[in-house]
């Protein structure tokens, strides 16, 4: 009997190592769990039924290209697209002998914060199926929370790993920009996209990050890690300087229950020996969201131009006129959110508006980076809520894109600065998980793991969704 709800990847690896379990049995246990619970949750778009390696299985967000396995990025325009090559992170997972469990659901082209923008139907939150799992890596976060995968890879542009991890009560790392290859990742906004792990524990996150991180000759924006990834051991925080940026903790729209849980975690950090003090990030928080909604759509408008029906994916037939074929294909293939962002982005880049919009946003981005750099001269880690709210109900924000965009207001600033961020569960509010965001300086993943691990131990958050606690084992 394998209790996939509770089994961590590290434990699973140990079982395989000691030959108490075969990789095939482990893989099958997760497929059983998927059969039992994914009908309701829809975390997966498709599963891989035969393990193709003898290690711990992993689930991949559906924007990670996998040779021979359909990859859609949650978009109908890519329905049926089977990549002829593997993404570098997929190659690295294979090299580490992880078997692929399947491809997880996501907001179309990673554009969204609830996974409701998937072209193939929404994913539901394992803590409450009437609520969203967050997004855009909602499928990956829900799969890990519901015991449908020991760990998973997601991608984070504006908060797409951290926010769903928070809403599903699991751990998610958005790595430093440039530490994980983007080769083979269906692009949304190239200067922001990063692949990262989602898992039940900080140590699992560190283990998976160790597998995927490092310079890749296929992605010239990647670099060698300045230090190797360390598995966190210590349970104190002595000597650590923790900053609590006022603007990230007191932003409008943060639910009281969220503030309460985060404050308890901050207090706990102090008890564990950290030197905690308040600090400020005024301009990053004030301008972050609007800056992001110029840069990300601008890059997206260009990245999504290749979906034209000429070479792969959907092609809507027309009377033979090429331009009409483009228009029809893109009209039929893209959902509302990609269309909205393509228009926004094309506008921000157009002649006469470039300087006022895209150009200005780049300047603001530099400002945000500097503001963070200055804080990291005084602090090792910054703490804040990951999401202003706990998981919201399906349909609650779909009619109001701006309300949806605000889901990422706390994760976006450090993403624009290219910094790493970890979200760990820090308690419940109204019976739903609250995420604590830890932000580190560039390449300081080890520091985040260390702090995250110490807090995780002290918080003793039971990551199994309460409603699943009894029927865990399958």
């Amino acid at each position: 009997m394998i209790d996939t709800l509770r089994l961590t990847a590290e434990e699973a690896a140990a079982l395989l190592e000691r030959r108490e379990l075969s990789a095939a049995e482990l893989h099958a246990a997760y497929l059983d769990a998927i059969r039992a619970r994914d009908g309701e949750l829809h975390a997966y778009l498709r599963t891989v039924d035969e393990p193709d390696a003898d290690g711990v299985p992993v689930a991949l967000k559906d924007l990670i290209c996998t040779r021979g396995v359909e990859t859609t990025a949650g978009s109908r325009i890519l329905a049926g697209y089977v990549p002829p090559y593997d993404a570098t992170v997929a190659t690295r997972c294979r090299a580490a002998r992880l078997s692929f469990l399947g491809k997880t659901n996501m907001d179309e082209f990673a554009m969204g914060s609830s996974t409701e923008n998937s072209g193939f139907g929404p994913t539901r939150n394992p803590w409450d199926p009437d609520r969203v799992p967050g997004g855009s890596s909602g499928g990956s976060a829900a799969a890990v929370a519901a015991g449908l995968a020991p760990w998973a890879l997601g991608s984070d542009t504006g908060g797409s790993i951290k926010q769903p991890a928070a809403l599903c009560g699991v751990v998610g790392l958005r790595p430093t920009y440039g530490t994980v290859s983007r080769y083979g990742i269906v692009a949304f906004a190239s200067s922001l996209d990063q692949i990262g792990p989602i898992a039940k524990t900080v140590r699992d996150c560190a283990l998976l990050y160790r597998i995927i991180a490092g310079r890749d000759p296929c992605d010239t924006t990647t670099v060698d890690l300045p230090e190797s990834v360390e598995l966190p051991e210590t349970e104190h925080l002595r000597g650590l300087r923790v900053g609590v940026p006022r603007e990230l903790n007191e932003a409008e729209g943060i639910e009281p229950g969220v503030t309460e849980a985060v404050n308890r975690a901050v207090e706990l950090a102090r008890e564990l020996g950290a030197d905690v003090s308040e600090c400020e990030l005024p301009r990053s928080v004030e301008y972050g969201l609007s800056c992001y909604y110029l840069i990300a759509p601008a890059e997206a408008s260009s990245n999504l131009a290749r979906y034209d029906g000429v070479r792969y994916g959907l092609r809507s037939e027309t009377n033979g006129d090429t331009r009409a074929m483009y228009e029809r294909t893109r009209h039929d293939g893209f959902g509302d959110e990609p269309k909205r962002r393509i228009m926004l982005g094309a506008y921000a880049l157009s002649a006469g508006y470039y300087e006022a919009f895209y150009g200005q946003a780049q300047k603001v981005r530099t400002l945000i980076r500097r503001e963070h750099d200055a804080l990291f001269e005084r602090f090792d880690v910054l703490l804040s809520p990951t999401s202003p709210t706990v998981a919201f109900r399906l349909g609650e924000r779909t009619e109001n894109p701006l309300a949806m965009y605000l889901s990422d207001v706390l994760t976006i600033p450090s993403n624009l600065a290219g910094l790493p961020g970890l979200s760990i569960p820090c308690g419940l509010s109204e019976g739903l998980p609250v995420g604590l965001q830890l932000i580190g300086r560039q390449f300081a993943e080890n520091a985040l793991f260390r702090v995250g691990h110490a807090l995780e131990r002290a918080l003793a958050f039971g990551y199994v969704p309460s409603r699943l606690r009894d029927g865990g084992a399958v």
């Binding site: 924007l63 990670i64 290209c65 990859t71 990025a73 890519l78 697209y81 990549p83 002829p84 090559y85 993404a87 983007r182 080769y183 083979g184 990742i185 269906v186 692009a187 906004a189 190239s190 200067s191 000759p217 296929c218 992605d219 010239t220 924006t221 601008a298 890059e299 408008s301 260009s302 999504l304 131009a305 290749r306 034209d308 000429v310 070479r311 792969y312 033979g320 090429t322 331009r323 483009y326 094309a346 880049l349 157009s350 002649a351 470039y354 895209y358």
Partner: protein
């Protein structure tokens, strides 16, 4: 009123690197369609570009040869537009921070030299090739079907933009020739128009002579040879002058030439205001060519062909046209210089190389200059056939001039005299006729003597001998 043409050029040159600009597919011409492709150059989701370091070096080299400043920091931009031959929906190009700018190329002319400003030389990827099947030939509109061959897609392409510093069709042709020669001599491109590895567009306007205004210009596209371009430019200049002199205004438009029917009037199209939404390519980090690299490349730059033409004029006392022809390739120019330094008179060497030697089609690079110099020096002494034969063989491995000059070639009077006597004795009737005034028979006697020697006699010596004997 007299008018001055104002001409600017935009030239695209394929670099002959082993692999493409942003993926490692090998470059190849004339292969079956879509046999040199990969997920990257097909624009598959998730793929990323990795720049070809060799292509960057070669662009810098070209920039240096064109006297450009090499940027300390250059960036790639995305140029966004939709077309079936553009798999990503954007072309990776350069925009306001190109690798090379502010250069100039000296274009010597028969009367005046032109100094042509180079606005920029930048690196980009070429598009794939649309193949139109059925419908009106060669045009996307009205085509039955469009197929795309991605073999060419992603080929490294250098774009060179000149200032409008050219003032005649002939000057433009000369510039193109020199530029072509420059890239060929740098070894970075074949620059063959037939293969499409050199393409160019021309901007043309005219203005009253002496003024420095810039009037509305038209763009000439699709020209398939330098000579054709020169004719096209001349026609366009004449047309614009005609319009102004009739009191009209030139309209901004693009003229497409049909390469197969150069006499047909060009197709016109209104300039479509395209917004390419340029922005810095976020998938690539800025280029920062190290100074040491630039200085190393600078040392590898050969003498530019324009400067070489100038030097030939002054150093060897050649006329412009001769200097230009001799500099048609670096191999010919080098052969010329080596032949002269082997002692041959500069004028004579130039005459032989441009005429008799050129007609043989021998590859100048294959010729041993010292041996060739011996042949040229002997040109007055040996029979014409033998001279030409020697030139034709001058490119063969181990070519030995002596074989054509010394051995068996009878020049000694003492050796020829008995032969001459014998010929005259055997043809008494003809000797009588000659002496009676039929002077034309001299050729007959020469022929007879030459046959006796198997062609191995010096014709001038034979001539002289015969005349002495007959006229005695």
């Amino acid at each position: 009123m007299s008018w001055q043409p104002v001409i600017g050029l935009e030239i695209h040159i394929h670099l002959k690197t082993r692999t493409k600009m942003f993926c490692r597919c090998e470059l190849a011409y004339g292969l079956d369609a879509n046999t040199r492709t990969c997920p990257i150059c097909l624009g598959h989701p998730g793929t990323l570009p990795v720049p070809n370091a060799r292509a960057i070096e070669w662009t810098i080299k070209l920039g240096l040869a064109l006297g450009c400043e090499i940027a300390d920091r250059a960036i790639f931009h995305r140029k966004n537009y939709f077309y079936p031959d553009l798999p990503k929906g954007y072309q990776i190009s350069q925009y306001d921070e190109p690798l090379c700018r502010h250069g100039r190329l000296l274009v010597p002319g028969p009367e005046v030299d032109a100094e042509v400003g180079i606005v920029r030389a930048h690196l980009e990827e070429d598009a794939a090739k649309n193949v139109h099947v059925g419908g009106a030939a060669g045009r996307i509109h009205g085509a039955g079907r469009t197929l795309v061959d991605f073999n060419r897609g992603g080929t490294p392409l250098v774009e060179i933009v000149t200032r409008p510093d050219l003032h005649s069709a002939d000057e433009a042709r000369r510039f193109l020739q020199l530029l072509r020669q420059t890239v060929v001599e740098l070894g970075i491109s074949d620059a063959e128009m037939e293969k499409g590895s050199l393409r160019f567009d021309v901007n043309v306007s005219v203005r009253p002579a002496g003024s420095d205004e810039l009037r509305t210009r038209t763009e000439l596209k699709n020209m398939n040879s330098f000579a054709f371009a020169a004719r096209g430019i001349q026609r366009e200049v004449d047309r614009q002058i005609g319009i102004y002199e009739a009191g009209g205004e030139v309209e901004q438009e693009t003229l497409h030439f049909d390469p197969d029917h150069e006499l047909a009037p060009p197709l016109r199209s209104k300039e479509e205001a395209q917004d390419y939404r340029y922005f810095p390519e976020p998938d690539l980090v800025p280029l920062a060519p190290p100074r040491q690299l630039v200085e190393r490349l600078r040392k590898e730059i050969p003498e530019p062909p324009g400067a070489r033409i100038r030097r030939f004029e002054s150093q060897y006392g050649l006329r412009f046209y001769d200097a230009e022809v001799l500099n048609g390739s670096v191999a010919l120019a080098e052969l010329y210089e080596r032949v002269v330094s082997a002692g041959v008179d500069a004028k004579a060497a130039s005459n032989v190389l441009m005429n008799e030697f050129a007609r043989t089609g021998v590859e100048p690079g294959a010729v041993d200059a010292v041996e060739l110099a011996k042949v040229i020096e002997a040109r007055a002494r040996i029979p014409r056939d033998r001279f030409n034969e020697a030139l034709a063989g001058s490119g063969d491995p181990g070519f030995d001039a002596e074989r054509y000059l010394g051995d068996g070639l009878v020049v000694e009077t003492s050796e020829l005299e008995p032969l001459v006597e014998r010929v005259l004795a055997a043809n008494e009737k003809e000797v009588a006729a000659y002496r009676a005034g039929k002077r034309g028979l001299l050729g007959f006697f020469v022929g007879q003597v030459m046959r006796e020697t198997g062609g191995n006699a010096d014709a001038r010596v034979v001539n002289e001998l015969l005349r002495t004997k007959l006229d005695a």
